[in-house]
């Protein structure tokens, strides 16, 4: 062991040399020079809602030029808002779930089931409309709870769970309603509160429904919850990296359950908006609502992989689809092209999301 001390000195000396030559800071955040593409990428990465917002703006401008005053008129603008209200509300529910890296194929089914429950309780059973409304919202929360339990306790993938509950809730809807419609006139007579979301208020030439205002209020509420409360941060963290989230002390199962329950209740509010819009309680309504809500979320820039996306992006996504549908219809374009356009928008949106996600 005679050489041990010399060996040690040499090692230490080497180390000190390396230590001396390396930079002193532990970590610094340097200024870099970026190309235009990189700058754009940075911008969109930091502001994922910018892309759909730009698309919306361009679409409104384009259709205004093509169609003219009839498109840009405040009445038509508020009409578009009305037309996207139901999908917008369901989109809020869908956004919450997609933020947790899940997906909910049952939002439409929950909406129709709760609308039938509200209608039947108010008209057939004769409960006061307020009670019927609350019963519907409670039913929505319970439906969400069922989804949540299957995802957290049984650890089943959300896609599969909600695929199953979609069918189950829909079947329950048909069974409870006997496939029968409750007419608008019957509801107007017995439980006009259910129509409240369809009533309008005039505003500088625009006709806004209480349903649309309710939708905007819900967006604002959920935006607050997601951005200004610890719960919101935990929702993002759980979707982004559940392992990291639980190591940080977040109870991810509780977060997931809360998200599914809230989403279910929101779907029931969507049911109230549905009754206000179509007047009747129809067990066949909302057939395409599931996929429409996902479309709004995706076009709005929310990542299907979870943890990223702004709730207002979904509102913009819904408006983009609404503007295109309305604009193309006013322009007299065949309905086929409306479907084509929506499909194109989805692919472009997902492609952009993939590019933006790259770090």
């Amino acid at each position: 062991m005679a050489n041990s001390s010399t060996l040690k000195t040499t090692e230490t000396a080497d180390h000190e040399l390396v230590a001396a030559s390396a930079g002193g800071e532990v970590a610094s955040f340097e200024k870099e020079t970026l190309s235009l593409v990189e700058k754009t990428h940075r911008f969109f990465h930091a502001n994922p809602t910018a892309a759909p917002a730009i698309v919306l703006l361009l679409a409104v401008i384009a259709f205004s030029i093509i169609i003219g005053e009839r498109f840009l008129h405040p009445f038509n603008m508020s009409l578009i808002l009305q037309q996207v209200t139901i999908i917008g509300i369901l989109g809020i529910a869908q956004t919450l779930i997609i933020l947790t890296a899940g997906i909910d194929l049952s939002v439409g089914a929950i909406m129709v089931l709760t609308s039938v429950i509200m209608g039947k309780m108010a008209i057939d059973i004769g409960l006061p409309a307020e009670i019927a409304l609350l019963a519907g919202i409670a039913a929505g929360a319970i439906a969400g709870y069922i989804n949540g339990i299957l995802v957290t306790l049984f650890r089943l993938p959300p896609f599969i769970v909600t695929l199953g509950t979609w069918n189950i809730f829909f079947a329950l809807n048909l069974w409870y309603s006997k496939s029968e419609t409750i007419r608008s006139q019957a509801i107007e007579q017995t439980a006009p509160l259910l129509h409240w979301t369809g009533h309008t208020v005039e505003f500088f030439g625009a006709k806004l429904t209480y349903g649309s205002l309710l939708m905007v209020a819900l967006f604002a509420l959920i935006w607050y919850a997601l951005n200004w409360t610890a719960w919101g941060k935990h929702v993002y963290a759980t979707g982004d990296d559940p392992g990291a989230a639980s190591l940080a002390g977040i109870r991810t199962n509780r977060i997931l359950m809360s998200v599914y329950i809230v989403a279910g209740a929101i779907c029931a509010i969507g049911a109230w908006a549905l009754i206000g819009r179509i007047g009747s309680v129809s067990p066949q309504a909302g057939m395409t609502a599931n996929l429409d809500s996902i479309t709004a979320v995706v076009i709005g820039g929310c990542s299907l992989f979870g943890g990223r996306g702004s709730i207002f992006g979904t509102l913009i996504g819904a408006l983009v689809v609404g503007v295109f549908r309305n604009g193309l219809a006013l322009a007299g374009v065949d309905v086929l092209w409306q479907e084509f356009t929506v499909g194109l928008l989805i692919i472009v949106a997902v492609g952009m999301d993939q590019w933006i996600r790259k770090v």
Binding site: K178, S179, T181, R183, S280, S282, N326, A329, V335, E339
Partner: protein, 340 residues
């Protein structure tokens, strides 16, 4: 023995054993609907079940998962063949696509009756029991024109159809309405190719309230002065009415529709719908079950209605504002005959 003859032997054995298996049981009749959600089909099924119970027949029901779901219907046909059914009643989702399966069923000796929608070609089925959808449209078209009187010449018409697929039911009702109103059809097998300036436009509703509302809103944006609305069915009409109500034009517009469902007839009573052509799905199903039983016992196949290549199950105009020379029934009478 080679593979082919083994298969044939097995099939022969199965075919021979089937009647032995079924001999002691009730005769089996299959009902395959497009979906089990549309009240039209729900009531059709109930009517068939009723008749089957009364006649001691075992009814097996199937349906597709959505309008256009051919695959489920094909499987249902195959199930019924191997179950040894005597006959099949089917509302085809894909009138052309279902034909090969239907041919197999007929080869196996089953009687196949198309309900509501003819197959493509119609002769692929032993018989078709359907509403004369063209006549249904024609009646409400005539009624609308007669109700407007002189104003029909300057009417503004919105056409609210089913979807963009140009299926027979959609085309027949749409074109029937236009003919009844007095508008040149151009190609009677195509929706939307007319040039009459009275037509403001066509839009699609998916046959439901939401679609009806949105289509009506968009049409009103194109021309706020619309005063006649043709709708593919009563749910779409109800949705269109909500849009008109919201625009404050509910009292100035004539809405016409087809179906004869009870909610729709109530809407006629309440003035939401001006006139509707009533169909008889229960009659369709009941006649269908009858025909199969007759075939099973006597081997006699059903005859088509004169002049048509299908058996007309009837259509009635329901309105509370009748016009002369168009036979109609009031909404109260309608409520005794309606379905749903």
């Amino acid at each position: 023995m080679n593979k082919k003859s083994i298969v044939q032997a097995v099939m022969l054995a199965t075919a021979l054993s089937a009647p032995f298996a079924m001999a002691a049981d009730k005769p089996v009749v299959g009902l395959i609907t497009k979906t089990n959600t549309n009240p039209f089909f729900v009531k059709m099924r109930e009517g068939a079940q009723h008749k089957a119970d009364a006649m001691g027949i075992e009814l097996r029901t199937f349906s597709g998962k959505f309008d256009g779901d051919n695959q489920s219907q094909v499987q249902a046909v195959e199930n019924l063949i191997s179950a040894g059914a005597k006959g099949i009643l089917i509302t085809p989702s894909d009138p052309a696509g279902i034909v090969p399966a239907i041919e197999r069923a007929r080869e196996a000796g089953l009687l196949v009756i198309a309900l509501d929608t003819p197959l493509s070609p119609a002769t692929a089925a032993d018989a078709t029991f359907a509403t004369d959808n063209f006549k249904a449209g024609e009646m409400i078209g005539q009624w609308a024109a007669a109700t407007l009187g002189d104003k029909a010449a300057t009417a503004k018409i919105a056409m609210l159809d089913l979807n963009s697929s140009q299926i027979t039911v959609d085309v027949a009702r749409d074109q029937g309405f236009l003919k009844g109103f007095g508008i040149d059809l151009n190609d009677p097998d195509r929706i939307g190719d007319e040039t009459d300036p009275r037509i403001v436009g066509n839009d699609v509703t998916s046959g439901a309230e939401e679609g009806g509302r949105r289509a009506m809103e968009n049409m009103l944006q194109k021309d706020p002065e619309i005063n006649v609305v043709y709708t593919i069915n009563e749910p779409a009409a109800a949705g269109a009415y909500e849009a008109l109500k919201s625009a404050g034009r509910a009292d100035d517009v004539l809405i016409v529709s087809v179906d004869g469902g009870c909610p729709g007839v109530e809407n006629v009573k309440d003035g939401v719908i001006g006139a509707t052509s009533m169909q008889f799905p229960l009659r369709m199903a009941s006649m269908g079950v009858d025909a199969i039983l007759k075939f099973a016992t006597t081997g006699e196949k059903p005859q088509t209605t004169e002049g048509l290549d299908f058996v007309n199950t009837g259509v009635e105009l329901i309105t509370d504002k009748p016009v002369s020379h168009i036979g109609a029934k009031s909404s109260s009478e309608g409520l005794t005959m309606c379905w749903g």
